[in-house]
Each structure stands twice: as structure tokens, then as C-alpha cells.
Amino acid sequence: MKAHILAFWAILKKDMQNYYLKPPNISWGIIFPVSWTLMFFIRSQQAVDIRFILAGVMAMSVLFGTTSMLSVTITFERKSRSFERLLLSPISLNLLMLAKTTGAILFGIINAFIPVLFASFLIDLGGINYLMLLLSVVFIAVTSTFLGLFIAVSVSEVFEAQTFSNFFRFPMVFLCGLFLPIENLPVFLRPLSYLLPLTYGADLLKYSINNEASIHMAISIPILLLFCCFLFFLSTHNIKKRWIY
């Protein structure tokens, strides 16, 4: 067990040092949320608007940060065959993938709080349920990272990972109810919204910031947990099928 913890920590630390804490990624992690934040904040006419769009900016920062980073790093390691080294080590595939995804999850969580930090200088952030905020950010980060993992397993080139990520990300942003309420979407698109993990994560996020939700959290939380398990096991199943052929 101790050996497994050691290997988990070594992989996480290596990924942090090699990818997530590299200057280009730190700047991406800061510039991306700051740009989104600025764009929406400048568009906002009054303080209350900032509070309403905060959830959307946070969710997008997490979604784009995690899916990009994980799918690209895994595809890159596959190309250089260093990922093979991890697959050949005596740690279970589930633990290995948890170690690989934890870095991206942490990266996503940190990304999510940059808009909060930025907003704290502009508006009063009183009344936010921070525990719930953290929980919803963790859920969005985990599901987005596992989605990134699913993408990484499905492609073989870095550019394919980027293209395939956008195929999921942009529709998710528009369908998850962050910027356009689901009730206002065309009837035929609404069922799609409820098939996206971001819909439930974003709703929880809105609840923690503005105390309003369209889905009860007793429904959102179990559904998000199910999404986490489903995406993770789907990805590991695909790894076994495609990479341990």
C-alpha cells in the first residue's frame, strides 16, 4: 500500500513539475480565466451582473483548463512512449489514471478560483456558500478531467486531442444552462442538456454563489458522482482495450 502511495505521489509530482507548473501553463491558467472574467465584467453594467456570471466564468475556466491539459499531456506521453513506462510499472491501472488525473483536477480547481479572486476586488462576495462552491468546483474539475481522459484515450495525436476537445466543450458551454437558461433552449435540445455533467455542476455552482438552482442538489450530487464513475471507468476500459491490446 505504501509503495502504491509513493508511486501515486511520484506521478502526480512529476506531472505537476513537467506540465502544470511550467510557465506557459501557469500563464494559460491565469490569462484564460482573467480574459473571460474581464470580457464579461466589462460587459456587465452593474455589480450584481458580475455575481451572476461568476459561476459561468468559473465553470469555463475549469472545463477548458482541465480538458486541454490532460488530453494533451497524455497524448504527448503516448507519442513519446513514456506513458508505456507507467503502464509497465507494478501499479494498478486505476491508481495510475487517478495519479495522472489528480494533477489536472488540482490545476482546474486553482483555475476556478482565479475569477473569484478577481471578483473579490470588484464586488462584495458575502453570502457565498464556500463549502458548496468548493464541492461544485471539485465536481466540475473531476468530470471535466475524466472527459479529457476519455478524449486522450480516443485520439493518437496532440492536434486531434485539441480538436476533439472542442467538439465536446463548446456545445457543453452553450447547453449547460450557464449563460442561457435551459428552459429557454429549444425543446429538442433540452434533453441533451441533462446528459451533460456540466449542467449539474454549473447548477450547483450557481446555487453556492446566488442561492438559486433549477435542479435540487439531492439530484445533482448523485448524478455528478455517477458521471465521475462512468467517465473514469469508460476511460480505463478504453485504455485496456486500446493500449493494453
Partner: protein, 321 residues
Amino acid sequence: MNPIIQANNLQKCFGDFEAVKKIDFHIEEGEIFGFLGPNGAGKTTTINMLTGLAKPSGGTLSIAGLDGIRDIKKVQGLIGIVPDESNLYDEMSGFDNLVFCASLYGMKKQERERRARELLVQFSLDDTKDRPFKAYSKGMKRKLTIAAGIIHNPKILFLDEPTTGIDVQSARQIRTLIATLHAKGTTIFLTTHYIEDAQRLCDRIGFIVAGRIIKVSTVKQLIEQAQQEHLMQFSVQGKEVVLAKQLMDAFPSIIEAKQEDHTILIKSKEELCLMPFMQFFDTRGIQVREAKLIHPSLEDVFVKVTGVEISRLNKEKEGKK
């Protein structure tokens, strides 16, 4: 001696294609086993099955007393793998790469750092230990990749093309290291396109062709078998005459005669004497420029067994690189 690896009816299919066709072989504890064959013969697929990168479609596999299919994660703790391409992390230093690899095997901090330093000295890489892997030369990368493969002192080491594409000095150092590991009792599974390496290092050799193991024998036996045939090569001058048939008619002991332009190769089960052949050529007015006796080597055995010329094999390898 006990077999440390025992494969029975090991098979791998990709859809309708049977890449490895129910092969049986065993590897004794502490031996260096050479696994030779042309590209596409099933070498990599077999190694992948032995190391856990591929699941066999059929058969059984026992490695170090464990079920090599069911207990593969336990097996992976006992084996070291050095792939044909150096696959360490470009951004990390030589030292950090080794320490990281040791962590994957659950080695404690002090132990892994000590072992990393020890290997860096052993491979003459201690001066460059802080340099990122991407700044290493090809030979240095290869040595560090091997060091990463043995950092946890594996019982069995899988070495895939360890000396391909590196300088003479590094290749010599790697051969010495393989011999040292062998002397310490490590079992080594070696694939190489350099037949001289196999001849020099291996105890036994298995030839795989088109997914089947067609011969397994000791290097000594293989060479002895090859040397039961006597070969002589003549380079002749003058107009081109087809002499192969005439030679076979004149000398019944010849079992095969091949002619390519001005070069004639004859093969006999009996020892060959030069004089009768010189007379044969002389009576036909053919001048012999050069005559030489050829002592069959492992390379000849390889060519005979696999049907692949070494030059083609090297070209294939270059193409692959």
C-alpha cells in the same frame, strides 16, 4: 536449472490475424535468452505479452512462479523493461528520471537516490546527471534508459535492441553491463538485430518467424550445426559461363552451388579441398581471382533459419528508426 519463464501455447490474435501462433518456450533462471527474427515475425508482440502490454488470446504463461496473465502487476514488480526507443522524460534530468522510475517500484527515497547515483557512475553519466534528458546524446539516452530498467534490481530484464544506433564505446559499455548482470544471476531476454551481439552474449537463442518459434538452441549447438556444412567461395574472371550445374556434376559431395555474376558459392557436407576445384576451373580456361573457405557463423544460421538476409534486416531496422 528452473524455468523462470514458461510459455505454453501462447497465442495472440488481432481479429483474424494470428500474430503469435501458439508458441512454446521456456527460459532458464539466470540465462541470457536471445530472441531473433525478422520484422513482423512476432517478437514485439511476444515481449508485450510477457511484460503485460498485451493480453494473450490463448495459452498459459508462468513468470517467476506467478501466473503471467492473471498476476501481471506482481510480475511487473519483478521485471525490468528496456524498450527499443529511449522513453524517459525529456524535461527531467538524468538523476530525476532514475529517481522517478525507482519511485514507481516503491523504493524508499534514500534507497532510490543511492541507487540512481550508483547507476550514473556505473554508466559514466555522473557528470551529466543534472542535464535534462533531451540534452543527452543518443548513446547517453540509451544508457540512461537501461539504467532506468534495472534501477529496482529486477529478476528478469527485457532488453529490446540495446545497442542499436549508438556509438561503439557506448555499445561496448552496454555489452559489458549485460555480461555483469548475467554474472549476478539476472535473467535476460534480449532481442537484437546485431547477430554478433547475440552470438557474444546469449546462452540460448530462439528464432521466431511468422509468429512461430522455429528453433531454440544454445549458441554453441547452432554454430556447430552450421559448421557441419563446408562453404567455399570463388571469384572468377573472364566470360560469364554457368558453372553451378557443371560443378555439382563434377563433385558429387557438393549439395548446393550458387552463382551470381562472377561469384560462385558451393556448399558441401564433406571437407573441401581447394586443388580439385582449381583444376576444374583451369581445364575450362577460367581464371580464379579469389578462393576462400567460409566458416559459417550464427549469422548464417539466422539466414538459413529465417530466410532473411542480414542486409535486409538492417535496412528494415534503419527504416523503422
